[in-house]
Symmetry: C2
């Protein structure tokens, strides 16, 4: 599927992948920024806890977003594909100013929602300005191409990653989460080695990429966002390696961004942004 | 210390860092190439097992190199700094066509050999054409700046790495070993963030960088060599981050090389080398 067309005169909503384990109590800056983006006390947030197998995941986020001042929060779960056709749930999503996917298993989301009216509606609403965030598995599914699962390791290896179609809000990037914590550079680079058109985004825990309508990514949170840009790739051996063999990749460009830094997914320019004092920038 | 000056009309010996756990039995291609480089049946190899606390490390490599056809192999251990002044051991090193440092703890090598006649002699002999290899800890110590220890993790973090002076055969690179297996991209990038002049070389296990007199690195073995070139760095926040905070690094260039690929440490050009068929290259 392709991202929905953005109507003339409108702006796409923000897309906000979060690397998992975001701070929910002491300094929940990522979740707070999401609530503010969705309208603060006017925010109307739908939480989709379908990735999770824990019964209280949805209600937990309802409580957190409520405490952060969101005007209205509703958790909507989907247990079967038939659930995705239910009019009352679709209507509730249609009203929302923000949609939030919890963590869990990304294949739960895509197997239940893929190709359904819910998936289509969320793409359409995002194109109309509704903000869509997801944490961990909920982050992985936001893009067109999703890492379904893979192996740990710092250097790329054939067969170390399995891609699957995601929700498809955008096709500009491939997400990996828990990045620093679970050693995923190798599998993200392997994912890019198949076809270097997309930008790889590795999200540390408690770290989010707030991607605006102009496709500029801003980092929020306590960790780093590792951007792998393969557009300048000189060589990939992905077409000739066997399973378990290392992949040769020449000419990757890597940026490690922290809070305040930005990356433009369109021009592929990184900026230290607020990290640089006016004196240095001048 | 600086690398020894190469006498007019002579060539530096090869420098061969190995990522640890190199194959010693089934297909010992790295160790075999080292023996051949040192002269095959004319090879005269000194093994320095000082990094290891295991009693049989030296004799094990004596046996392996012997079976691979080396003419003469002697293991020389150093238990105290005073041992490094002993004339018979220095004379034995002076005769060798190759020196091999085993794995273990790199700080054992540097605390025992640093600043001694042995360290100086090995630098001088390398400048005169003697080949010097090391595996794991033995690889880490070959360069001027050495990673003494650090934390695992895919993205760089202040305080995640401690540098120390190494043996100093070259100052062109900083080595990290067990690269894929122990998730060390973050700490290698952190090491470069202090001062991007050096090239970061991340060696997977059973993988070696054969660095010739012309400073071209050739990959040998079953894994990958990840080259991090920070020469084009646009920004490093290393001067302003606190311990435990992520480091912002914009503009790293990364190449993942496998057997057959090369990297020129002087021009900083990567090449797929033998991986590309003549047809593709044309």
């Amino acid at each position: 599927m392709c991202p929905s067309k953005i109507p003339d005169g409108e702006q796409r909503g923000w897309i906000i992948p979060i690397g998992g384990a975001e701070d929910k109590e002491n300094d929940p800056r990522i979740l707070r920024r999401f609530v503010e983006l969705c309208g603060g006390d006017q925010a109307d947030i739908v939480v989709i806890p379908t990735a999770s197998r824990l019964a209280d995941t949805g209600s937990r986020y309802e409580k957190i977003f409520g405490e952060l001042g969101a005007g209205k929060v509703t958790s909507i779960d989907f247990d079967t594909r038939r659930d995705t056709e239910e009019k009352s749930r679709l209507k509730r999503i249609e009203q929302a100013s923000g949609v939030f996917f919890t963590g869990g298993n990304q294949l739960r989301i895509t197997t239940l929602l893929g190709g359904t009216p819910v998936a289509k509606l969320i793409r359409v609403r995002n194109a109309h300005g509704v903000h869509v965030a997801g944490t961990s598995a909920g982050a992985a599914i936001l893009s067109e191409h999703m890492i379904a699962f893979g192996e740990e390791g710092g250097s790329p290896m054939a067969g170390s990653v399995r891609l699957a179609p995601g929700l498809g809000l955008t096709n500009r990037f491939i997400i990996d989460q828990h990045f620093r914590q679970r050693d995923r550079l190798g599998r993200l680079a392997t994912a890019l080695a198949f076809n270097p058109f997309a930008v790889g985004i590795g999200l540390d825990e408690d770290t989010a990429a707030f991607i605006g309508p102009d496709n500029t990514l801003e980092v929020e949170g306590s960790g780093a966002v590792t951007v792998i840009d393969a557009a300048g790739l000189q060589f990939s051996s992905m077409d000739r390696v066997d399973e378990g063999e290392p992949v040769c990749l020449l000419g990757l460009s890597v940026h490690v961004l922290v809070h305040g830094a930005t990356f433009n997914l369109h021009t592929r320019q990184a900026s230290a942004g607020a990290l640089v004092s006016p004196k240095e920038a001048g």
